[in-house]
C-alpha cells in the first residue's frame, strides 16, 4: 500500500487503522534508501536500527506517531553527527537536540536520516557539500537546488515522506521547486531556531519539505510556538493549521508583482505562473497586478546582510571548543587561521571574507548600513501591498529557471546569487512563503505564494487550492 509518493497524512491513517505497523514503514523507507541513496546522495547517513528501535516503541495516537522524518544536517540531534555538510564539523556530535527535533520526538515522529546540504546552508545547488553533490531525482544531470538539497531530493524520490530544511534566502522553497515537492518557510520566529546551526540569524528559519500542502500544515502545528531558548521565537498564538484548510479562497485578492513577471524567467516558469493565475481565478480569487518598486534591491541587500551575519556567526569555529583543528598550528593565531582554512569550503570562505569586508572600518556605512536601509524598503513594499493595495497574498515564481545542470562551472558566484531574486525578499521581510509544484511537463517548476506575518493559515489554504486544482 505504500508508494514513493505516500503522504504523511495517508501514512498516519494507515498506522492508526492498523493496516501497517511503524516498523513496516521504517523498513519500507530503509529499503528505498539502500536502493537509491548511493546514486542520489541525498542522505549523509541513516541509522536503520535506531529508527526500528523507535518504531517498536512508537505511539501512533500521537500527532506524528510513527512517522519517519529526515533532518537537514544543520539541525542538531543529540549524540548524532551534525556536520552542516562541512569538514569543519565532520566529527561534531551534538550534545543536545534542537527544539524542532524535541518537538518532533514529543509528537511521536521518528527522525530518520541526515539530509545532505550546501555547506553551512550556503549555496543554491547542493554542490557545495563537502560530502558530494546530491542528484535531482527528476533528472540525474541536474542539481536538486539548495541549500536543502538532500531534504528536497529525499522527499521527491520517496526515500522519506517528509524532511526538515532551513531557509535563509530560499533554501527550502527553491530546491522544492527544482525537485517537485512542497517547500514551506513559515514566518520568521514561528519555529524556534535553538539547535539550528546559525548562518544568518536575522534571516534563518526552519521549514518543511513534503509531498503535499496538508503535510506541511500537519508539521507546522507540531513545530511552532515560543521557546525560552530562542528569544526571537514568537509568542503569537498558534492556530489549528489543519482546520479551515479546505475552506477555499473565494473573493481573496492575490497580488501579482509586475517585477516578478519580466523577461528574466524561462518559458516554463512563465507558463507555470500563468497556470497558477488561472487556477486561483477559477477558485474565485481576484488576481491584481501590483508593484514592489524595490524588488531589484533585494539580492544586493540580502547578500550584504547574510554575509555580514555569516562572518560574525562563523567566528565561533576556532579549532578549540569543537570543530576541525589543524595539526600544523604552532600558536593560537595559526590555530585559528589554519583550522578555518582547512575546515571551510570555498563558498563559506567567500562569504566570510565578503562579510568581514562589509563590516570593516570605513566600509560599514557604505555597505552594511545601506543594505539594512534597503532591507527596510523591500519590507515596506510588502507592507504596503498587504495594507494600502489590499492584497491578502502575493503570487510569484520561485526561481527564474528550472533546475540547472550539474557542474555549471562557467557561472560566477554573482550569477548564482542573482537567481535568488524571488526567494530572498521573504527572508528580508520575515514573511511566510511556500513553493507549490505545478503540473508542467519536463523539469519540475514550482510557484510561490507569500503572506503577511503569521498568516500561514491563509497561505496554506491558497496553496492547497492550487494543489487540488491540479490533481
Amino acid at each position: 500500500m505504500m508508494s514513493p509518493e505516500t503522504s504523511l497524512n495517508v501514512l498516519q491513517n494507515a498506522l492508526r487503522s492498523g493496516k501497517i505497523s511503524p516498523s513496516e514503514v521504517v523498513e519500507y523507507y530503509a529499503a528505498r534508501m539502500d536502493e537509491l541513496n548511493p546514486r542520489l546522495n541525498a542522505l549523509l547517513s541513516y541509522d536503520k536500527e535506531a529508527a526500528l528501535a523507535a518504531a517498536a516503541k512508537a505511539d501512533v495516537s500521537l500527532p506524528l506517531g510513527g512517522l519517519p522524518i529526515a533532518i537537514k544536517d544543520n539541525i542538531c540531534r543529540q549524540g548524532i553527527t551534525t556536520s552542516c555538510a562541512s569538514r569543519m564539523l565532520e566529527n561534531f556530535r551534538s550534545p543536545y537536540n534542537a527544539t524542532a527535533v524535541e518537538k518532533l520526538l514529543a509528537a511521536g515522529a521518528i527522525p530518520f536520516g541526515r539530509a545532505n546540504m550546501d555547506e553551512f546552508a550556503m549555496g543554491s545547488s547542493g554542490e557545495n557539500s563537502a560530502y558530494g553533490s546530491t542528484q535531482n531525482p527528476a533528472d540525474p544531470q541536474r542539481v536538486p537546488g539548495g541549500s536543502s538539497s538532500g531534504s528536497a531530493a529525499a522527499v521527491a524520490a520517496g526515500l522519506i515522506p517528509a524532511a526538515l530544511g532551513s531557509d535563509t534566502g530560499g533554501s527550502v522553497r527553491q530546491p522544492a521547486s527544482h525537485c517537485g515537492v512542497v517547500g514551506f518557510k513559515p514566518t520568521y520566529g514561528r519555529i524556534s531556531r535553538y539547535g539550528l546551526v546559525a548562518f544568518a540569524s536575522s534571516l534563518d528559519q526552519i521549514g518543511t519539505l513534503t509531498h503535499c500542502v496538508e503535510d506541511a500544515a500537519l508539521l507546522l502545528g507540531t513545530l511552532c510556538g515560543h521557546d525560552e531558548k530562542d528569544s526571537t521565537s514568537s509568542r503569537e498564538p498558534v492556530p489549528d493549521f489543519m482546520s479551515g484548510l479546505h475552506d477555499g479562497i473565494k473573493g481573496m485578492r492575490i497580488g501579482l508583482p509586475r517585477e516578478y513577471t519580466g523577461g528574466g524567467n524561462t518559458e516554463s516558469v512563465s507558463s507555470a505562473l500563468q497556470d497558477a493565475v488561472q487556477a486561483l481565478q477559477n477558485a474565485g480569487a481576484e488576481i491584481c497586478e501590483i508593484s514592489l518598486p524595490h524588488a531589484e534591491a533585494a539580492v544586493a541587500s540580502y547578500y550584504i546582510i547574510a554575509c555580514a551575519e555569516t562572518s560574525s556567526n562563523l567566528a565561533r569555529y576556532d579549532g578549540i571548543r569543537y570543530g576541525h583543528r589543524s595539526d600544523a598550528a604552532l600558536d593560537p593565531d595559526t590555530l585559528f587561521s589554519l583550522s578555518r582554512a582547512e575546515g571551510f569550503g570555498e563558498e563559506v570562505k567567500r562569504r566570510i571574507i565578503l562579510g568581514t569586508y562589509v563590516l570593516s572600518g570605513g566600509y560599514c556605512d557604505a555597505y552594511y548600513a545601506r543594505a539594512q536601509k534597503a532591507r527596510a524598503l523591500v519590507a515596506q513594499d510588502f507592507a504596503k501591498a498587504f495594507t494600502e493595495l489590499g492584497v491578502q497574498l502575493i503570487l510569484g515564481p520561485v526561481a527564474p529557471t528550472p533546475a540547472p545542470r550539474l557542474h555549471e562551472e562557467d557561472m560566477t558566484p554573482l550569477q548564482t546569487y542573482l537567481a535568488d531574486i524571488y526567494t530572498v525578499p521573504a527572508n528580508l521581510a520575515g514573511l511566510p512563503a511556500i513553493s507549490v509544484p505545478t503540473p508542467q511537463s519536463g523539469l519540475p517548476v514550482g510557484v510561490q505564494l507569500l503572506a503577511p506575518h503569521f498568516e500561514e493559515a491563509r497561505l496554506l489554504r491558497a496553496a492547497i487550492t492550487l494543489e487540488q486544482s491540479w490533481k
Binding site: A297, Y303, G319, I320, I353, Y357
Partner: protein, 100 residues
C-alpha cells in the same frame, strides 16, 4: 558610495577573518568580490537618507529572559567535541611568550 568599488585587499581581510588563504584563493576571491561589490553599488540609486535601517524582520522588545539560574550542559557534554582536552579543560597552544 562611489561608482566603482575600491580595490579590495583580500589578504588583509583574510587576516581579520582569521582564514589562511593560498595565493590562488586570494586572486579568485579578489575577482569574485570586486564583481559582487560592483553589483551592490546599485543600492546607491535609492534615496535611503530618511529610512530607518532594519536589523530584524519582526519587532523584538525586551528579549531578556528572567535572571534565574538554569541548568547548563554537563562538563563532559561541553568537552566531548573538543579536538584536544586535558584535566577537564580545553587544551590550546601556549599563549604567553617565554621569558628570556
Amino acid at each position: 558610495m562611489q561608482n566603482t568599488s575600491p580595490a579590495i585587499d583580500v589578504a588583509y581581510i583574510a587576516q581579520l577573518a582569521k582564514i589562511e588563504l593560498t595565493n590562488e584563493e586570494q586572486s579568485r576571491l579578489t575577482r569574485d568580490l570586486e564583481q559582487i561589490l560592483n553589483y551592490v553599488q546599485q543600492l546607491g540609486k535609492w534615496d535611503t537618507q530618511h529610512v530607518e535601517p532594519m536589523y530584524h524582520p519582526i519587532p523584538i522588545f525586551d528579549a531578556l529572559r528572567p535572571d534565574v539560574p538554569g541548568k547548563s550542559l554537563p562538563l563532559n557534554a561541553t568537552l566531548c567535541n573538543a579536538p584536544q582536552q586535558e584535566d577537564d579543560q580545553f587544551r590550546v597552544p601556549k599563549v604567553v611568550e617565554s621569558a628570556h
